[in-house]
């Protein structure tokens, strides 16, 4: 079956000017491979600053002007180019942003959700009311401005806005930061519901535990590249089912798994590493690792970017 969304070897480069107006190219996203199937949640996990949000913007076609992209993004088997992105944004592809700051501060939230619904006025209002009821938002919320919403309400408004658009693919960028535990569970269950109703969901988060609770597949990001695609079940025990050393390190750093924190830090895009981006921190690294970047390859039903994975 053709996956709903497929990303192959995506790279995003920014042009920057430095002293003396010299132009520099900074590769912020450097090799991302992943796919999202209908009815499934694919979670992307990784430390902040690993280029996760940029991936979401790239799929939506909303990168800033000084960014250049290479690689392929396929949606339902066809290339997702700028024209298709513009046609599908807000219709087949919905976006759930991470914070209330993404709502227009000068517009009532009801109107913003109706704008997401599209179509004629009455129909849009109808959809918005139904969505508000579904996500336990009182009728008065319509008339509120974003700054008047609580964190949980804001999050539900954003989910409601995604649900009114009949989307097939939903991209949720950090939908749970700073929420109390119960709200986080609720938010993720709502995403699960949307997936169960046939949507493909791409969940971007740095909250590994939360992601593992609902996701079908997990993609691990490191320094702007995807290093592993695993089944959610692979994250168990001492992590021996995981394929990439960084995934195992992430798993073991969780409190209930021993809190073993990996020393060192992610390389910066300006470091321009030739070989495997993880090699400087990897216990298994050999000479070959720092020479050439490993390609993504299939291992035990998942994918991994490592020479030593078995």
């Amino acid at each position: 079956m053709v996956p709903l969304l497929e990303v192959r070897n995506l790279q995003i480069t920014f042009t920057r000017y430095t002293g003396g107006l010299r132009q520099h190219q900074i590769k912020v996203v450097d090799g991302v491979d992943l796919s999202v199937a209908a009815g499934e949640i694919t979670a992307i996990i990784g430390a902040s600053g690993s280029g996760k949000s940029l991936l979401a913007h790239a799929i939506l076609g909303l990168l800033p002007g000084n960014a250049a992209m290479s690689g392929k993004i396929m949606y339902r088997g066809e290339e997702l180019d700028a024209r298709r992105q513009e046609a599908l944004r807000g219709r087949e592809i919905a976006y759930i942003p991470q914070a209330v700051t993404y709502l227009d501060p000068t517009m009532r939230v009801g109107r913003q959700v109706r704008l997401a619904a599209g179509g004629d006025r009455r129909e849009a209002a109808d959809k918005q009311r139904r969505a508000f009821r579904r996500y336990r938002l009182g009728e008065h919320v319509e008339k509120l401005y974003p700054f008047e919403l609580s964190g949980g309400m804001a999050r539900r408004v954003l989910v409601a806005a995604a649900s009114v658009s009949d989307a097939r693919l939903i991209i949720a960028d950090e939908p749970t930061p700073g929420l109390p535990q119960a709200e986080v569970r609720e938010a993720l269950l709502q995403l699960r519901e949307l997936a169960d109703s046939g949507c493909g969901v791409l969940l971007i988060t740095h909250d590994i535990q939360a992601a593992l609770g609902v996701a079908d597949r997990v993609v691990v990001f490191y320094a702007g590249s995807s290093v592993e695609t695993a089944h959610a079940q692979d994250f168990s025990g001492d992590g021996h089912l995981l394929r990439h050393p960084y995934s195992r390190a992430l798993w073991r750093a969780l409190p209930e798994n021993g809190f073993e924190v990996l020393p060192g830090a992610q390389p910066q895009p300006s470091d321009r590493l030739e070989g495997c981006l993880f090699a400087p921190r990897c216990a298994m690294a050999t000479a070959a690792c720092s020479k050439e970047r490993p390609e993504m390859r299939h291992v035990r039903g998942g994918m991994v970017r490592c020479y030593h994975a078995t």
Binding site: L62, Y95, A99, M107, Q112
Partner: protein, 327 residues
């Protein structure tokens, strides 16, 4: 009342400003090597006897020490008497009042037109950032900013008044027509070219400012989200951008009274338009000190009023904006 106190503070500020301004100007003029009597007599110098000079000097109080002269002049002003213009031989207040009406018509038209057109051009430029409409508009703005206002007036004069003959070459009313017979249409006909000149110059700053502000808004999170929801084009800009740029644009227009006045001085000179600007030049050339001082104070008042309105707008509108002023 918060606003009452704020307004009182502004009023005090205005008073100290005008006081300082009058003292500084008066000192500078006292230091001037120009002999006001000579300036007053002008071309008649040969026919004026020393006795007459004495009389003139005494009449204007020019023999008193500067401090006395200042106090004399300042106390007269407080009583509403700004002195008599040497050039026009009528009270300064009358000259300024009449002239200002003409200038106000010119400036008001140019101010409104440049505000609306500048805002529109700024929006178009930002919406097409980096493409030809943007390049064209920014090119125009930067070029206009490098162009003397009076030269634009000259070009418009050559094209529209001399070659095409659509508009009169100058003045505010037709020459040789009795004041009572001048129609509104006549006045408008004479106003168009000067107003167009002044508007063309004033468009540049407001357009560039709008463009910059709008670009900042367009790169904000909430516009990214709006685009992710499928909104696009001018509808998106009007919905999510306009509200954020309108207030700064309007306040910028109000704080531009200083440049507007300067532009009016030059424009009026080109079109022989009998406004306050032309009077300023005449006063400067003819050494009409009372008129010059009057104009300095009045133009400062004019600029201050613009700034005051801008401040007041922020004060009045902004809290409502923060609470959200969905129209």
């Amino acid at each position: 009342m918060v606003y009452g106190k704020w307004f009182a503070m502004k009023l005090i500020r205005l008073c100290t400003l005008l006081l300082a301004l009058s003292i500084v100007s008066f000192c500078l003029i006292s230091l001037s090597p120009i002999d006001p009597v000579q300036a007053y007599i002008g071309a008649d110098a040969m026919r004026v006897s020393p006795e007459q000079r004495q009389e003139i000097a005494a009449y204007w109080g020019l023999d008193d020490p500067p401090v006395m002269r200042y106090l004399h002049w300042a106390s007269a002003i407080l009583r509403g008497d700004m002195g008599t213009s040497m050039l026009y031989r009528t009270p300064v207040a009358d000259v300024i009042g009449e002239r200002f009406l003409h200038s106000a018509a010119l400036m008001a038209v140019a101010w409104l037109a440049s505000g609306v057109i500048g805002l529109a051009l700024g929006i178009v430029a930002a919406a097409h950032k980096g493409r030809w409409p943007d390049r064209l508009i920014t090119w125009y703005c930067y070029t206009i900013a490098s162009t003397p206002a009076f030269w634009i007036g000259l070009v418009l004069l050559v094209v529209f008044a001399v070659w095409l003959g659509w508009f009169p070459v100058g003045l505010a009313v037709p020459a040789g027509v009795l004041a009572a017979e001048v129609t509104l249409l006549d006045r408008i006909h004479h106003l168009i070219l000067p107003a167009l000149t002044l508007a063309m110059v004033s468009i540049a700053p407001i357009a560039l400012h709008t463009r910059e502000k709008l670009l900042a808004v367009l790169s904000s999170d909430h516009v990214l989200y709006a685009r992710a929801r499928g909104e696009k084009g001018y509808a998106l800009i009007m919905r999510h951008g306009l509200r954020n740029i309108l207030l700064p644009a309007i306040t910028l227009q109000f704080t531009s009274f200083s440049e507007l006045f300067g532009g009016a001085v030059l424009t009026e000179q080109v079109f022989s338009y009998p406004g306050l600007g032309q009077a300023t030049v005449a006063a400067g050339l003819g050494g009409d000190v009372p008129l010059l001082m009057g104009i300095v104070l009045c133009s400062a008042l004019f600029v201050f009023t613009g700034n005051l309105i801008a401040d007041a707008l922020y004060k009045l509108v902004d809290p409502r904006m923060r609470k959200g002023g969905d129209g």
